[in-house]
C-alpha cells in the first residue's frame, strides 16, 4: 500500500498521464476498432459493388418504356409493365390479408392471452417457428392448398398473395407484438383505473400508440414479400403475361420473377432489362425501407 506521506506530498505515486509506454496498451483496442469498422465496411462495399454493377448493366435501360411496355420477344420493345402491376396487385392483396390478421393475432397474444394456457403457448411457439420456415416451403403449402381446393391455374393473384401472406404473417405478428409491448404499462393502468374495459384500452390507447411500430414492421415485411421469388415460382408465376392483371383471379407475374425470366433469355438486351428491373426493385425496396425508418424515427415515442 502507498504510504500516507506519498499522498500528502500532493503528487500521485504514478502520474495519471498513463504510466505505460505509448502503444503498449493502445494497439489492441485500436486494431479491434479497425476490425469492427472493417466488418461493417465489407458489407457496405459489397452493397455498393452490387448496386454499381446493376447500374452499369441496366442503367441505360432504366426509363419510361420499362414502366409502360409489355414484355416482348424483342428486348428493344420489352418492358415490365405487367410485372410491376402484378407486384402491386400481389403485395396489395397480401397487405390487406395479412395486416389485420397479424395485428389481431398479436393483440390476442399480447393483451388478452393467458400465457399459461397451452393453446397460447403453442401459438407463440408456432409464430416463432413460422418466422424461420424457408419461404419455398410456403410455396409448397400454397401449391398444395390450391390443388386441394381445386384451383386449376395456380398462377393467380390470390394464390400468390396467399403464399406471401403466410410467409410474412409471423413477421408482422412479431413486429406488432414488439410495438404493443413498447407501450408503457402506465398507459394501460391509467386507462383501466378509469373504468375502461380491456378492449377499450387496447383499441383507444394501446393500438393508436403502437401504430408507428406496426407500420414500420408491416412495411418491412411487405418489402420482403416484394422481393420474394421462390414461393411464386412454385405456383408457376414464371409466365409471359402480356396484359395488365385486373383482379384477384387474374394471372400475373411479379418483378423478381420477370427479372429471373429475362436473365434466362439468350439475348443480351434482356439481361440489361433484367438489371434495369433489378434497379427498379432495389429502388422500391429503398423507398419502403426509407419510409419505415422515417416512421420509426419520426413517430416512435420514447416513453
Amino acid at each position: 500500500m502507498r504510504s500516507l506521506q506519498d499522498s500528502l506530498a500532493g503528487a500521485p505515486t504514478m502520474p495519471l498521464k498513463t504510466g505505460r509506454a505509448p502503444g503498449e496498451r493502445r494497439a489492441a483496442p485500436l486494431v479491434f476498432l479497425i476490425l469492427l469498422w472493417l466488418s461493417l465496411a465489407v458489407a457496405v462495399i459489397f452493397l455498393i459493388t452490387l448496386i454499381v454493377n446493376i447500374v452499369l448493366e441496366g442503367g441505360s435501360r432504366f426509363g419510361l418504356p420499362l414502366f409502360t411496355e409489355y414484355p416482348s420477344s424483342s428486348p428493344d420493345r420489352a418492358g415490365a409493365r405487367p410485372a410491376i402491376l402484378g407486384s402491386m396487385w400481389v403485395i396489395g392483396t397480401t397487405a390487406v390479408l395479412t395486416i389485420p390478421l397479424g395485428v389481431a393475432a398479436a393483440v390476442h397474444l399480447e393483451e388478452f392471452a393467458d400465457r399459461k394456457h397451452w393453446f397460447n403457448r403453442v401459438i407463440e411457439l408456432n409464430v416463432q417457428n413460422l418466422a424461420a420456415v424457408p419461404s419455398i416451403v410456403y410455396g409448397l403449402l400454397a401449391l398444395a392448398f390450391l390443388t386441394l381446393v381445386g384451383v386449376r391455374d395456380k398462377n393467380i393473384v390470390i394464390g400468390g398473395a396467399l403464399a406471401l401472406s403466410l410467409l410474412i404473417l409471423p413477421v408482422i405478428i412479431i413486429a406488432t407484438r414488439e410495438a404493443i409491448r413498447a407501450v408503457p404499462a402506465e398507459i394501460r393502468d391509467g386507462s383501466l383505473a378509469l373504468g375502461a374495459t380491456k378492449w377499450q384500452t387496447t383499441w383507444r390507447q394501446v393500438l393508436p400508440a403502437s401504430v408507428p411500430g406496426i407500420a414500420t414492421g408491416s412495411i418491412l415485411a411487405l418489402s420482403r414479400a416484394l422481393g420474394e421469388a421462390a414461393p411464386l415460382l412454385l405456383l408457376g408465376a414464371l409466365v409471359f403475361v402480356s396484359f395488365d392483371p385486373n383482379g384477384l383471379l387474374s394471372g400475373f407475374t411479379t418483378l423478381p420473377i420477370q427479372i429471373f425470366n429475362w436473365t434466362g433469355r439468350p439475348q443480351e438486351g434482356f439481361h440489361e432489362l433484367a438489371a434495369a428491373a433489378s434497379l427498379l426493385l432495389l429502388g422500391l425496396l429503398l423507398v419502403m425501407n426509407g419510409l419505415a425508418i422515417f416512421i420509426r424515427n419520426r413517430y416512435q415515442k420514447r416513453w
Partner: protein, 292 residues
Amino acid sequence: AGEGSTEGGGISGSVVADGSSTVAPLTEAAADFFRDEAPDVNVTVATSGTGGGFAKFCADETDISNASRPIKDEEIALCEDAGIEYTEIVIANDGLSVVVNPENDFAQCLTVEQLNTIWGPDAEGTVTSWNQVDSSFPDLPLALFGAGTDSGTFDYFTDAINGEEGAIRTDYSPSEDDNITVQGVSGDEGAIGFLGLSYVEENPDAMKAVEVDGGAGCVAPSAETVQDGTYTPLGRPLFIYVNNASYAEKPQVKAFVDFYVESEAEVAEAALFIGLTEEQKATAQDELATLG
C-alpha cells in the same frame, strides 16, 4: 370466322398456353404481336416444359400446348381419357445445337457415336475426360450441361443420341433454364452442352456450336441445314398443340392461333428460330381449315 387480322378488334378473353420453354419465345412473340390486333385478349405463356405442358393440356387446363417434340403415346392416352381433342401444328424449326466452350479448339465436329459416348447412360462416372471420346483430344475433364428432365429438348436429345427417351447419364447439370447452360458452358473449358440454336446465335462469345456427323458428313446447325433437312439427327420441328374445343368455342383462341400461323415468319424471326418451309406452312393452314 376468318383469319383476318382486322377482325381481332372486338375480341376479348384469355388464351392460356403452357409447355416447352424452347417454344415459349415463339408463342410469346406471337402474343406480343397479337396484342396490336386484339388488345383485350389476355395471353399467358407459361413454361412447364413439353411434358409438363401436356400434363396440363390433357387436364383441360390450357388452350395451347407448346412442344419441342411430338406428343408421346402415353400423353395421347391421357388426352383421350380426358376427352380432349387436339390438333398438332408445326410452328417453326430448330437446330438442337451441341455447344462447347469457345476455348475448345479440338472438337470441331462430333459424330453421333461420339456424342453417345459422352452422353450415354453407361458413361456415367466412367467417361470423364475428352480423350476418352477421341484419343486425339486432350486429357481435359468433361463438364456436362443440358436441358432439364421435364423438357422436350431433353426427350428429343436423348432419343436422337442415346436411342431412348430419358436415357442419359445423370452426372450432368440439368436445367430448365437454358441460360444456365450457357453460363455453364462459357464458364468451363471442358464443357459440353446442348440447347436450342437461338442461344448459340445470341451468345457467340460464350460458346460455339460443333458440327454434327449424322452419317452424312459434318454439318453445322443453321437455318439452311435445318430447313433442308441435312442437319440430322438434331434438326427438329417445333409444335403447338391446339385444343379443338377451345378453338371452336373461344373466338379469342381461334383468332390467336390463326394469327400465329399467319405470321409465323415474323414470329420465328423475332424469337430467333427458323421459319417454316412453304410446304410446312401450307400443311399448317390446311389443318386449321379443317378445324375452321
